[in-house]
Amino acid sequence: MQRQVALIKQSLFDQGYLDDQFMELEELQDDANPNFVEEVATLYFKDSARLINNIDQALERGSFDFSRLDSYMHQFKGSSTSIGASKVKTECTTFREYCRVGNAEGCLRTFQQLKKEHATWQDRRGLGRQHVGPSKERDK
């Protein structure tokens, strides 16, 4: 089980889902805070779910309020960066670029991609976890 978890985690790293920042977080975990990473990740997924939802709704509305979208994405990027979710972060950056130039199509596409990656990570993380996987399963 341990090995499995480790493998999964390793794959996440290898595939670029996670980066150095995540490793920093792992280093923060110690005996006094044994579940730090877990807690942070949970918090992250909870928050990201909310953000994704907001963005989804904003996009569905079709109004494409770029500044608002950008604002959401900025938040998303912030947390993703902090937790070391590099792929997600990259997508966020791309998304914001599209927002900046007002490319709605690009935004949508990027967002789809982002959600996918986010979900992948979440799923894998769930697998790696001892208990039931992360609650948030988002549909891609």
Partner: protein, 692 residues
């Protein structure tokens, strides 16, 4: 100030290698520990991670996900934090706006952070005065060194008056700071304002461990932090004790005659060089000048104080009504009156000073440069502090707490004041230091407590008490006449004082309050404060103040005192009321008005004092217009408020008591906010908290 010894939770006392200082400097190692950080970010993930990282750095972390909440936290706890880290994009308030607020109101170093690394945003951070800008993801390394900003700021504040703050901060920042100081609370530093003793320490808050070690001039923060190494040469850390020794030596020689060589000899501290002493003396002189300058008659005051109360009275009167008042406020004059008042209120003899004086002197010395303290002391209205810190050991009691708080109060203050602010720490430190320091600290505490709570009804006993005290005072006044030296109890007074003091009307009182905490030391550095105060307090317009002050300090029971006392009392009461009013305004004003006029002269003084206090307060923050009243007796009130603020600041300063803190606090005040009155020198910095 965070002292490892505090119970702040520093726990770094053990020299916990914060891991940051790999520099291996033991001193440095402990230094950053316990740094009180406020983190603001609406992103919960980020917040959690930051908190964890900061904790790993052995900092004390408070997190906040809303800017508004952060601001109110900071306002409530003016000196409760050393540095703020804030995100740029937040839903309820722009990060830069928060940055501005913090810079103006609290004068704390603020670090901005964001996932956004575009140049424009970073530039905005710089122009708004952020001390640093971190790009997310924030790494541990970046956080490990944030303490340098605190040190830097403190240093610059300390030397602000002289120069623009050596810190590398952008000139803008400095200016902001300075401006902010003037406008806002110079004293704030709560975190920063701690005695901005630029002394190498930089970490005023650290005072404890660092100082000792740094005496030899250790570089602080070396550990890869460059900021500590701003110093080109090893700097001596002027710990509270060291400073007290210094002050004692100076007093012994006489401020005018004190030369570095002789001081050095007297101090007899191995490793201390003449240069160290010389530069410290220079600063000290400035500090004193500041104190004295407030009343404009500085020279007079100082002299007067020093020379003796009687003499001082004369000159004092010369001081403008303001000065006196200021002085009174500062605690010199009022101290007495306050003492009286307090005594009345407390039921103690207002004159505690007499007996307490001896102690005060000690204390004063301790107060490290107790500049802060002295000031506060004066603010206590005990003016006596100033006068002769030495003679009035008892006064000290009053010093801090002009409020007639009984000694117990003082004690209570000390204890009570746990205010997160520095004050409590200061006090603790002070207390630890030597009974004396407690005074300062105690005073501070009371003030601190007051300050903050002040408006609210300071948690520490004082503030709340103030109101009641006033009334007591008034009634007490009569009782004061018979002020007997209020020994330690004067300390207690301080608490009450503090309340009063906070109001500033008692200005001296408030400070005294702090003092109360300190054993007798209410006279911070008896000599020192005297010096500092002299300028301000000494000048009580009516010699009566002085006397009162003196008496309070020395426990003058002199009959004249009574006269004054009564007058002063009125005034004090008024001032007290004012001080309270500062927060409360309404009451004091009414009170003070009536009173103020009663002793026109007194009020003058008071006003002066109050003004001074205000000035102080002003330093800290431009107290709400109340204070300005000074002009007429009624204005005293206003001033008192300010004063109170100042006192609070001062009190706070006293907290610093750890000499360094005081110094820095002093410096802060001095340099920081040019008191509108006259440079009350009250280092308002501590008062930042004054919620006025």
């Amino acid at each position: 100030m965070m002292n490892p010894s505090h119970g702040r939770g520093l726990g770094s006392a053990g020299g916990s290698s914060s891991g940051r200082n790999q520099g291996g400097e033991s001193v440095v190692e402990m230094f950053p520990s316990g740094l009180r950080v406020l983190v603001v970010d609406d992103d919960p993930t980020c917040l959690m991670i930051l908190e964890r990282m900061l904790r790993t750095c052995l900092y004390e972390v408070t997190k906040c996900n809303r800017a508004e909440m952060a601001l109110s936290l900071l306002r409530k706890n003016k000196h409760g934090f050393d540095i703020v880290i804030s995100d740029v994009h937040m839903p309820d308030m722009d990060g830069f706006k928060l940055l501005e607020h913090v810079g103006l109101e609290m004068d704390l170093p603020v670090i901005m952070m964001s996932a956004d690394d575009s140049k424009s945003v970073v530039l905005k951070g710089v122009t708004h005065g952020a001390v640093d800008y971190l790009i997310k993801p924030v790494r541990m390394e970046a956080l490990k060194n944030i303490w340098q900003h605190v040190v830097r700021k403190r240093r610059s504040e300390w030397s602000v008056p002289e120069h623009s703050g050596s810190i590398e901060e952008t000139g803008e920042r400095q200016q902001q700071r300075q401006r902010g100081d003037d406008a806002a609370v110079s004293g704030r530093d709560d975190a920063a304002d701690d005695n901005s003793s630029s002394v190498n320490e930089g970490n005023n808050w650290r005072s404890g461990s660092r100082k000792r070690k740094d005496e030899e001039g250790e570089e602080q923060g070396d550990d890869k932090d460059e900021d500590a190494s701003n110093l080109k040469k090893p700097r001596v850390v002027w710990s509270v004790e060291l400073h007290q020794q210094f002050v004692a030596a100076v007093n012994q020689l006489g401020v005018e005659k004190a030369v570095p060589k002789k001081i050095l000899e007297l101090m007899n501290v191995p490793g201390l060089t003449r240069e160290n002493v010389a530069s410290h003396l220079q600063k000290y002189r400035i500090y004193l000048r500041r104190l004295g300058g407030v009343s404009q008659h500085q020279g007079n005051l100082n002299n007067s104080f020093m020379t003796g109360q009687d003499a001082s009275f004369g000159p004092l009167s010369t001081l403008n009504g303001f000065d006196l008042q200021a002085l009174a406020v500062t605690g010199q004059l009022p101290a007495q009156s306050l003492a009286q008042l307090q005594a009345a209120g407390l039921g103690r003899p207002s004159m505690v000073s007499k007996s307490g004086l001896p102690v005060s002197s000690i204390v004063d010395e301790r107060s490290i440069f107790s500049f802060d303290n002295p000031k506060t002391r004066f603010g206590d209205g005990l003016g006596h502090h100033v006068q002769q810190t030495q003679p009035h050991p008892q006064m000290n009691l009053l010093h801090g707490v002009p409020t007639g708080m009984e000694p117990r109060q003082l004690a209570g203050l000390q204890q009570q004041i746990p205010v997160g602010n520095r004050m409590s720490i200061q006090q603790q430190i002070a207390a630890v230091r030597a009974g004396h320091s407690v005074q300062n600290g105690g005073m501070l505490m009371p003030l601190a407590g007051q300050q903050q709570p002040f408006p609210r009804g300071p948690p520490s006993q004082s503030s709340i008490r103030q109101q009641p005290m006033l009334s007591n005072r008034v009634s007490e006044r009569t009782g004061f006449s018979g002020r007997s030296s209020i020994p330690e109890s004067s300390r207690v007074l301080p608490t009450s004082y503090t309340n009063l003091a906070t109001q500033h009307s008692s200005s001296s009182m408030t400070f005294n309050n702090f003092q109360p905490e300190l054993p007798v030391n209410s006279f911070p550095l008896a000599s020192a404060p005297g010096l500092a105060v002299p300028a301000q307090v000494r000048k009580p317009p009516h010699s009566s103040y002085q006397e009162e002050v003196n008496s309070s300090e020395a426990g003058f029971t002199t009959p004249s005192y009574d006269m004054f006392t009564s007058r002063q009392n009125d005034w004090d009461l008024r001032s007290i009321g004012i001080a309270f009013d500062a927060h409360q305004d309404a009451e004091s004003v009414a009170f003070s008005n009536s009173e103020a006029y009663s002793s026109s002269s007194m009020s003058r003084n008071n006003t002066a004092v109050a003004a001074t206090n205000h000035g102080r307060n002003q330093q800290q923050q431009p107290l709400p217009g109340h204070h300005q009243v000074y002009g007429d007796g009624g204005s005293v009130r206003v001033k008192s408020e300010r004063v109170a603020a100042d006192t609070a600041a001062m009190a706070f300063h006293e907290q610093y008591s750890n000499q360094e803190d005081l110094m820095s606090a002093l410096l802060k005040q001095e340099g920081i906010a040019p008191v509108d009155n006259t440079e009350f020198d009250f280092d308002a910095y501590s008062i930042d908290d004054i919620p006025v």
